[in-house]
């Protein structure tokens, strides 16, 4: 299970964006979290991905409470979660080729020997040709770069996958293609999925169940935020 209980988080202790939000996700389940721009759903996704330390509340990952976030998270927990962000340009190191980008998590966890096999297996699954794998981010389109970012999230075979507006920048065909890649990985691995987004039609088509931001927020949550981020 991935359980978030009464999470309060944000960037200013006096005015947290996320207030007392709870949600839980069973292995193999896909959950869509719907919310308008600036409601705090991306912050919650970062908490669930162990990338943002909440002010209060607990995260329990496969029965084990999470005590550290980012580099303080134990490797076993960190590598159990894969993340895909909204903007591939901001989440890809411009100096790396797509092949290096996909292989980075394996290198960082001392599993270099698996690089050739895993990249060779994943690249065709996400639709990247060997020629594209040799390019750097500025030489590919947003859609192609997001395919690489998805492959990077899957390379460690995570038990949990968090997609924060994965397809917001992409056209209809690339969206359908990436969702198909995620779903085929889940069928084969039994991973759970938290898909965060604002597109109700997409999330209802994609996920087993969807919840609205208001339904999982505690009392005192702000109704609308003027935050500039989407």
């Amino acid at each position: 299970m991935l359980e978030l209980t009464r999470i309060t988080a944000g960037y200013d202790r006096r005015d947290p964006v996320v207030r007392e939000v709870s949600l839980s996700l069973a292995p193999g389940e896909s959950l869509g979290l719907l919310g308008p721009s600036g409601c705090g759903k991306s912050t919650l996704a970062r908490v669930a991905a162990l990338l943002h330390r909440p002010y209060a509340g607990t995260v329990v990952l496969d029965g084990e409470p999470v005590r550290g976030w980012r580099h303080r998270a134990p490797r076993a927990q960190r590598t159990a979660v894969g993340v895909v962000f909204q903007q591939p340009r901001l989440s890809a190191d411009p100096r790396l080729t797509l092949r290096e980008l996909i292989a980075q998590p394996l290198r960082a966890t001392g599993r270099r020997s698996e690089v050739a096999d895993r990249v060779a297996g994943l690249a065709p699954a996400v639709g990247l040709t060997p020629e594209l794998l040799g390019r750097r981010p500025h030489e590919v389109s947003d859609g192609q770069l997001q395919r690489a970012c998805l492959a990077r999230a899957l390379v460690l075979r995570p038990r949990w996958l968090i997609c924060d507006e994965m397809t917001a920048m992409l056209d209809a065909s690339t969206t359908a293609a990436l969702v198909a890649v995620v779903e085929s990985y889940r069928r084969e691995s039994g991973a759970g999925l938290l898909a965060v987004g604002h597109d109700r039609v997409l999330l209802e088509r994609w996920c087993d169940r969807t919840v609205g931001w208001q339904e999982c927020s505690g009392p005192g949550a702000p109704q609308e935020s003027m935050s500039p981020t989407g």
Binding site: S141, A168, T175, A176, D199, W206, S225, S227, P228
Partner: protein, 327 residues
Amino acid sequence: MKNDPGPTAPVLSVRGLSVRFRMRGGRHIAAVADAHFDLAAGECLALVGESGCGKSVLASALLGLLPGNARTSGSALLDDGTDLLGLGERSLARTVRGRRIGLVPQSPAAHLTPVRTVRAQLEETLRELTGARRPALRPAAEQAAARASFPAGHLDRYPHELSGGLAQRAATALALIGDAPLLLADEPTTGLDRELVERTVDELRRHADGGRALLIITHDLAAAERIADRVAVMYAGRIVELADAERFFGEPGPRHPYARGLLDALPERAFVPIPGMPPELGALPEGCAFAARCGRADDRCSVPPPFDGALACHHGVRADGEEPVHA
């Protein structure tokens, strides 16, 4: 500016517009090839297609904003016969941008000047384009903001203090100041949530209904359906279908196999992706660029299909989805 451009005088008439980038080693990239379309006052044309198909290059060509290694050919005539492609930087800057063509940019947060308030930016644009001076400037700025539904209470904010929707309206307000007869909106809804997308396109539609011509470039088909009178589908730098929006999104639907594939990929339809990826613009195949991904592809597809004003496909699928039988 003409006050009464009837349906016979399109606000913008694009004929055979091509853009090629010269790359290192003598390579060329054909980003836009032989685009033809007309745009009348009060009409909205949506240019749709996958990212990297050349849509934004076309918009940049109309505004003369292409980098130095780009070469354009063809023509893009305004209603008085001015050819946008033949104008120099000086005339574009002084007479066209903002005055005859208003640009609603792709990412307003990046388009607005980060160190100045929305009010300061509106006032500067008013001074430049309309010659307004104090004390008329302040109410004029508030009026300009109101035209794009930007709340007056937020005028003294800096761009980073605005939500995505408000930043979009601030950018639209700036684009409307010069009262340009042609509005060009380049991906105005990227990254906005559905409700804001609808509000943004409804506002743009309102400006088209007010008599402006609107060219909206988008990969968001739902937004295009909501706003457009006509749809142009672009694939690998070419317009492959130009159709009435109602027929395109409703019955009988698009005729080009690529356009059909795009609609079928929508989550409210089949949610099935088009197999493969678009070809590289620098290495286009000899024949039809879509053939490699097309279920109908056959021998005829080894030569590029001509665009007949509505469709560029050898199969010429009729509105009922059947292909005419060749003798």
